[in-house]
Amino acid sequence: MNEDDDAELVRRCGGGDRKAFEALVVRYQRPVYNAALRMLRNPDDARDVTQTVFLRAYEHLADYDPSYRFYSWIYRIALNESINQLKGRKRLAPVPEDEPSDGPGPEQLVDAELSGRTIQAALMTLTDDYRAVIVLRHFLDCSYEDMAEVLQLPEKTVKSRLFSARQRLKDALQQHGLVQP
């Protein structure tokens, strides 16, 4: 993403330019939707959250601090809204019933032949904090520095959380026979 472009678009939004905001929506709809989807699993919920994220962003555009990158701000809203949604619905399904109970054998795992649904099911067994760092790093391609900015945590803390999250994700996959112990 071009940060200069973002800053210019945000500035134009502040002047009442709807087209500029629409350009930001177009630019960030995909990562925001995918982040919400990975956090929530349900496409309808992800869609609702994505809409809410951009409406909140619009609503609070005047509060946006341009010393931060726009995407880190919008990603933070996306994660917070997703977590709020999860808290609201009070349900977490560790592994859906339609997941294959006899997952791929160890030899298949060498080729990382894990379906998106299987990975998603394992993701849902993580705590929100752990899932958030996995989403940021692996699905939004954030650097450690980006993640620290999004989560407003020291980089060292982010790295430590990411390493733990990966370990737990690996354990979750192993537990369901999806990753070689």
Binding site: G16, T50, Q51, A62, G116
Partner: protein, 221 residues
Amino acid sequence: MIDERIEELVNADVDGRLPEGSRAELNRHLLANPEVRALHRDLQRLQQALESVRPEPVPADLVTGIMDRIPARAVRPGALSTARSWRYAFALAASLAVAAVALRLGSLDEDVDGAAAVGTMAAGEQANSAATIDRPGLSASVRLRQAGASLLVDLDVASQSSVDVVASYGGHTVGLSARGDMAGQRQTLELPADGAGPVVVRFASQGRVIEEISLQAPGQP
């Protein structure tokens, strides 16, 4: 048990962020310690598995759905700043309930049926009449349309303080309270379409009407 420093090197390598000059150190640990090799291999597999998950396409009408809910006119930063100070003043006054009662029992002298949120606009329906409001602390777009035996008043309100909205038509009145600091939240008021004359929509704060607009009802001259 793997040392924290080694674990960091392994993770950094998997992320492609191994610091320059640390490759030799990591290689030494990989050669010397099978546990480190196992961790490195596991994390690489995990990385590959996660990379195999493709981004999902976004719903086709997502952008439209978002932009439809954005008020027609943006609240400019200056207006926001001014209005934000209003918000604090109004919060101190704790006036919403009093304002609503005053509005409903006094200023308008009409019975209020209460909020009648009826959902979002169905595809294919046309706005029959529309207006926008843009004043310090309050931006709103109002659209009137007919749906069967009802008139629907679609509201997009961006306000920095709590605002009561009351729509009247043919002796019927419905209303809702828009909380402060809201934007892009569409709500719809429903009125029976059996009246005559214009639909009058009033915005009030603290019991005082601050804006009044008239919309042409369908089929009315």
